[in-house]
Symmetry: none
Subunit: 236 residues, 4 copies
DNA sequence: AATGAATGAGCGTTCATTCAT
DNA sequence: GATGAATGAACGCTCATTCAT
């Protein structure tokens, strides 16, 4: 794909520079990058707060101190803007997951961290919930188009697998752990608490956002899953 | 009047059929209850498919073979209609939960059923996911107004507790089970699989809707949670 | 029409019961008069408060503790209902004018009363202003259809003329008084103060509804017009 | 491009005419000021013809050869548009009043002009009547919000006062003239004739719009009020 | 690239009115 | 005659999007 090569070259050429050189075909001139990013940032906030349908182009452009028409100039449509926001959110969470500082010599401690990570991440970035929720409402039509989607989860799975392997080698973890199921359980237990905090708070008549309750949940789910991969049951 | 006789005959002839005889003016319920329910049913479908903001009053009224204005006649506003739909969905799921046929003498089997229930229910009624998702997007502003919200979950918790108690009495369950945490884990593991099936399918490059995978998940989560309350680890 | 005959029989059978027998031409049964008048009264109030376009059929029917459809049953349309309200208002004001207790022997006092009457009447019944205003907004399309319109003002003009004549005979009034112009001036000076009380209060920065100001205006306009027909100027 | 040349010719040919040359895309102002004024002008016309409630946004936007949405773009709401129309009307009438060419040396002639002015103005601009009528129907809720309302009438009152003062100095006017009452009488007698021309024509069975009758009224009211401030009664 | 006016479809809602029992 | 459900046009307003400078 020609166009892509050019893009790539341009990107490579710009390494080390603050701002890439402008070109005839408006390959984004000087301030463009800033404007684009302002819009993207504003869009992420507005989409997260209101959902796709509830978000207003005007709100986004004003939040970015820019103009409606620039959104179309840079992104083409509301939907395409949303896709970029979505992909940014994906990238962020998976990157954060890969950068977890894990104790190489203590698989149990490392696994506990891995388990708690999604919960703590969603807790800190509840906006992502809305973006993912919107995407699922629309049957994942954007993510399914993306050819790189399955590359996001892979690294995390690899890390999880390597921690499990270390535990097995050390004789503390069972040999038959299904990493994919485990990964999914980890995500479920972290995601749901945040995504349904409002309805569940009402149903259970409990404030799920109370710090102690949050810590209790983090401990509960990590113990639950840790136990499930341990060779021997912890005495409690 | 001839026409009327014919109509009458047609009506008599059509007893037991879905659609009554056509008339010049399209047959209308002329019955508040029927019309209300038609609208409610149509609304549930449309809200579930499109979300609150994406749902169009016109779509709902047409799906109900009714009129926009009747929605306002019966429900007052789009939001109030949504609230009724939402409460109907709550009632349905909690009612279904209470009617689970549980083996009184086998707490482990009973608990497995309880654990799998939300997952299977959401799998069968994925529309509820959208309704709950919308509600959480709007920070639960409707459910928090409802005075009866916390009465929905209570019965389910009671049932869960009684099953746990029986298991404890039989000596198969641990004494320190936290039913609320357990209930939340049950719901999380059932809900997330369905709610995020589209994005997760893409991330994991797996078809989460494949029957075998569904069964595997049901088995995985029930075993996981069952194990977590068992006194002794199952040998594997 | 067969069906109707059957209905009729049923009705005939019920004679002597709570519900009176209907007639072929519905010559309004017992309660009809009350309902009609309730509606009329409610309509006058609502039309007066909101204007024609601002008035809602539903508001009227509810204020009359009746039903929208009964308005159509009794009056045919919103417009026809308005016309009846309008004509009632005309009748009222002209009747009140004719029943003024005038001192037969004191033309000056009598004239002063006549002059002040419209002002005081509109002050007491500002709703009439709105009805007349609406009618004029619509270029008097209802009143112009009414064949009896010119019979409303006539009696008042006659009374005015007779008072003037008495004053002329007594030698206190000028002989060249134009009763029509005078009548129009009387009405103008009484009507405007009430009709434009809100805007004029704002323009003049005065509260036109203050009792003293009202009395001052009544005195001012009566003196003004009385003087204009007097043979000799009053010393002031 | 041929078409364009032709267009140009057409434009040149049409100089001085109402409509500029047509183009493929209908010629649009693309100038906020022009569009705003077009809308304002159209709104004034439609509001005047139909009243506030009777006026339709669509009618206004079409009359302005514009779009509904531009009304909201420029004015925010129907009500705010109405307020601007209203204030424009106020400004116009009070400006016209201030620009009356009055004979400085003939207070009586000057006063006669002042008296006749509102009548003649309303006669020429009956739309203002509807605007003021609407405002009064709504209890002056717009004008009362305007902080500048009382500055409209003030100049006119000042002019009136100065003319009266000159007359007093010349010895032709009485010293105890109440300018506010007089101003109100002037306005009443001018306004009512126009505002109630339709109903009064019907009541009196006279055509109030007949030129002679109009002149007669102008003469009648100016004589009436002039006489009321004169020191000595005119001989008739 | 930035600025802001123009475009037009469509949305939630209201309302006068009619129909059926 | 009373009751209330049904009908359908239209209204004020919003929004994503495009165009012109």
């Amino acid at each position: 794909m020609k166009a892509k090569d050019i893009d790539l070259n341009a990107v490579v050429a710009s390494i080390g520079k603050e701002e890439p050189a402008p070109r005839k075909r408006p390959f984004k001139a000087r301030c463009a990058k800033t404007t684009r990013q302002n819009i993207l940032k504003a869009a992420r906030e507005v989409f997260s707060r209101k959902g796709y349908e509830g978000a207003r182009i005007e709100k986004i452009s004003k939040a970015a101190k820019s103009y409606d028409s620039l959104i179309y100039y840079y992104f083409g449509s509301k939907e395409k803007l949303f896709v970029e926001v979505l992909e940014g959110a994906y990238r962020d969470i998976f990157e954060a997951g890969q950068n977890l500082p894990l104790d190489e010599n203590d698989p149990e401690a490392a696994l506990r961290q891995i388990i708690e990570f999604p919960f703590r991440y969603y807790m800190a970035h509840p906006e992502v919930i809305v973006l993912l929720g919107t995407e699922n409402l629309h049957a994942g039509k954007h993510i399914s188009k993306s050819s790189t989607a399955d590359q996001y989860a892979l690294p995390m799975l690899t890390i999880l697998q390597s921690v499990i392997d270390k535990g097995i080698k050390k004789g503390v973890f069972r040999k038959d752990v299904d990493c994919e199921q485990l990964y999914m359980a980890i995500t479920s237990l972290g995601y749901f608490y945040v995504s349904n905090r409002h309805t569940f708070s009402a149903f259970m008549n409990r404030d799920l956002l109370h710090p102690e309750r949050i810590e209790a949940w983090a401990h509960y789910i990590s113990t639950l899953l840790l136990d499930s991969v341990r060779k021997h049951k912890t005495t409690t």
